[in-house]
């Protein structure tokens, strides 16, 4: 063994007085941290490969296990932090691009935490959502410029396709391949029961999920994996993925070892081959090209499906959003840079893009200024951690929000950020059959539903407090928001006043 330049991350501490040597930890850890002694009489742990996923901790029947951060001090240096030193060592060893999973862990400002919500006092009454109707139904799709009505009162406007959601929360794109079929199925089941949508990502639609095509957003990404006419039509929304918040400007790479028979069938690529999504769509070099693709999809789907365009939040996001709207998109998804991913180059994830709060506010304002806001629905994505984040996003102008990390956490994800290794102990970001079966959709769809139902309750509660009884009245209602500790420029972009104003 050569010198290990990087200290381990965690220490597994086993309380010998509590360990009953049942071996649950041994059989559960895909990182092989736990082993039986040769005679099988006791269990010991090797912490070197521990990623703090807590599978062993959570399953240990006697609470004998504890995971601690391994503290190994370096000489203090505000510039050369241990993190950078370790990353250098990793690259010195492998010569490769650093990869990681989930959203950026860097302490960039989270504007949700610097925005405060309003509540009614005296002058307008707050509403008790337990006593009075509270509408959170959300309708996505392009709205007509104006309504013309014939004599009998019937509308003469041909409505573009609309999608009715029973909650403003949708599940964002996670492909079968990046997550397990069981994980995707759990989301699909939850979406169906909640009256919302899940998103196939660019992984195609597995035949097992055809029953859920009514609540599927199917993605057309740069790799065009699994895209065919039936795929497009087995959906509620077709989404063109231009970019992803966690890795703007970067394509995707599903390593061949994850492309098993099922994944290969769903993606329509040979088994074992790397699934490489190019950085750009090679047929889209302009807004006009995008317009052509949107038109083609609409043709293929008989103009019955709204077409959504998903872009990463980058510097000129507002102008791009405007272009997308003008290209004929019914829905624009803006994915902020804190959004999650199955695998992304660390440098990209941690340095490229802008926060969703600023991107959303800017795009919403730009579309309003141009008088085309009603042509498109705006969906915000990129790390919503709780219902308050959702409420704030809607007040900043979002029609609905895409969530992925939160439902994954509901399904067992512990944010260990090693999705890219394919050894997810919770059966989420893996295709290993011994691991994927750990995620039982029967249980997990219930947990995800519970989460979103809880959020729905909270959203209603918060809206009621504001004296608002419909999510439509909250949308773009920036008067309900106040900034705290933000500078003039930030407040200006967010379009909100400072607390106290």
């Amino acid at each position: 063994m050569p010198v290990n330049y990087i200290p381990r991350r965690f220490t597994v501490i086993r309380d010998r007085d509590l360990c009953i040597s049942c071996g649950a930890c041994v059989r559960q850890c895909s990182n092989e941290c736990h082993s039986f002694t040769e005679d099988g009489s006791s269990v010991f742990s090797n912490s070197n490969s521990c990623v703090a996923c807590h599978r062993c901790v959570d399953l240990c029947p006697t609470g004998a296990l504890r995971i601690e951060k391994y503290v190994c001090d370096y000489r203090e240096n505000a510039n050369w932090t241990p993190q950078y030193q370790q990353e250098i060592c990793r690259q010195a060893e492998t010569g490769g691009v650093l990869l990681s999973g989930m959203g950026t862990p860097k302490p960039y400002p989270i504007y949700w935490d610097k925005i405060l919500l309003n509540a009614s006092q005296v002058t307008n009454p707050s509403i008790d959502p337990l006593r009075e109707p509270m509408e959170i139904r959300t309708i996505l799709g392009s709205k007509p410029e104006k309504l013309t009505v014939e004599k009998k009162g019937k509308s003469t406007v041909k409505m573009p396709p609309q999608v009715v959601l029973e909650t403003p929360v949708m599940f964002s794109a996670m492909s079968f391949g990046s997550i397990s079929l069981n994980a995707q199925k759990s989301l699909a089941m939850a979406a169906k029961n909640l009256g919302t949508l899940f998103n196939t990502g660019e992984g195609g639609l597995h035949p097992d999920l055809l029953d859920y095509s009514d609540c599927a957003v199917v993605q057309v990404a740069s790799g065009r994996f699994g895209v065919h006419k039936d795929y497009l039509n087995n959906s509620r929304i077709v989404e063109i993925k231009i970019g992803q918040g966690a890795k703007p400007g970067i394509g995707g790479h599903l390593p061949g070892e994850k492309v098993n028979t099922e994944v290969s069938n769903a993606r329509m690529i040979p088994e074992g081959s790397d699934a490489i999504s190019p950085a750009p769509h090679h047929d889209i070099y302009s807004i006009e090209d995008l317009r052509q693709l949107i038109w083609s999809i609409k043709q293929a789907t008989g103009n019955e499906k709204p077409v959504s365009v998903k872009i990463a939040a980058v510097h000129n996001v507002a102008a791009i959003a405007s272009g997308c709207a003008r290209a004929g998109a019914d829905i624009i998804v803006i994915d902020g840079f804190r959004g999650g991913t199955g695998a992304a180059p660390v440098r990209i994830r941690d340095n490229v893009g802008i926060p969703i709060e600023l991107a959303l506010a800017a795009a919403d304002q730009r579309l309003r200024d141009e008088g085309i806001r009603s042509r498109v629905s705006l969906v915000a994505a990129g790390s919503f951690r709780c219902s308050a984040d959702i409420v704030k996003a809607i007040a900043l102008g979002a029609d609905a929000c895409y969530c992925a990390s939160a439902p994954l956490i509901a399904m067992g994800c512990h944010m260990c950020q090693t999705c890219n290794t394919g050894k997810c102990n919770w059966g989420i970001a893996t295709q290993r059959p011994d691991l994927t079966k750990r995620l039982n959709p029967e249980i997990m769809h219930e947990r995800v539903e519970n989460l979103i139902n809880a959020w729905n309750h909270e959203i209603k509660e918060i809206m009621g407090g504001m004296g608002i009884n419909s999510v439509d009245s909250l949308r773009g209602n920036r008067m309900m928001l106040r900034g705290i500790g933000l500078n003039e420029k930030e407040l200006e972009i967010l379009g909100i006043m400072h607390a106290g104003e």
Binding site: I20, R27, Q28, L59, P61, D434, K437, N440
Partner: protein, 147 residues
């Protein structure tokens, strides 16, 4: 009758059912004491067979016409008419293990007397089912239906 069914496609081979079965059939009823200190050590009546790729928690089927009851040479093994539970009378059993050698499912365990699942008599849900982290064990009345 309601029985415990194992769904092998969902079994994660953690074997916690065994831990909790031992606890339920221990003197102390405490998970730590039962699994670490009790002497004689309690015996789990459910056993997980297999490996990480395929495993299943095998448990008494409480058959309609149980071979173990038929083969029992002392009348200790009986099937309760009302509950359908097949159980061992501790006073009558001589521990010959004839039941073990005829059970086609491998659900009788060795002990001083024959040991087997009693569906945690009186519990709404047997402890193995209650503690299965992946619902690989279900307690249902199948009546010929699919699992």
């Amino acid at each position: 009758m309601k029985k415990v069914y194992a769904r092998d496609e969902l079994c994660v081979n953690c074997r916690l059912c065994e831990v909790y079965c031992k606890t339920a059939h221990s003197k102390s009823k405490d998970v730590l004491t039962a699994n670490k200190y009790e002497d004689p050590a309690p015996v789990s009546r459910v056993t997980v067979y297999g490996d990480k790729m395929l495993s299943a928690a095998v448990n008494c089927r409480h058959c309609d016409d149980p071979k173990c009851v038929k083969a029992c040479i002392t009348g200790a093994m009986t099937k309760d008419k009302k509950t359908g539970i097949v159980s061992v009378n501790e006073d009558k059993c001589i521990g010959c293990m004839t039941c073990l050698s005829v059970c086609p499912f491998g659900c009788v365990k060795e002990g001083k007397i024959a040991l087997k699942c009693d569906l945690c008599r009186g519990e709404d849900e047997p402890t193995c089912v209650k503690n299965c982290p992946n619902r690989a064990l279900v307690y249902i009345d199948l009546e010929g239906a699919e699992l």
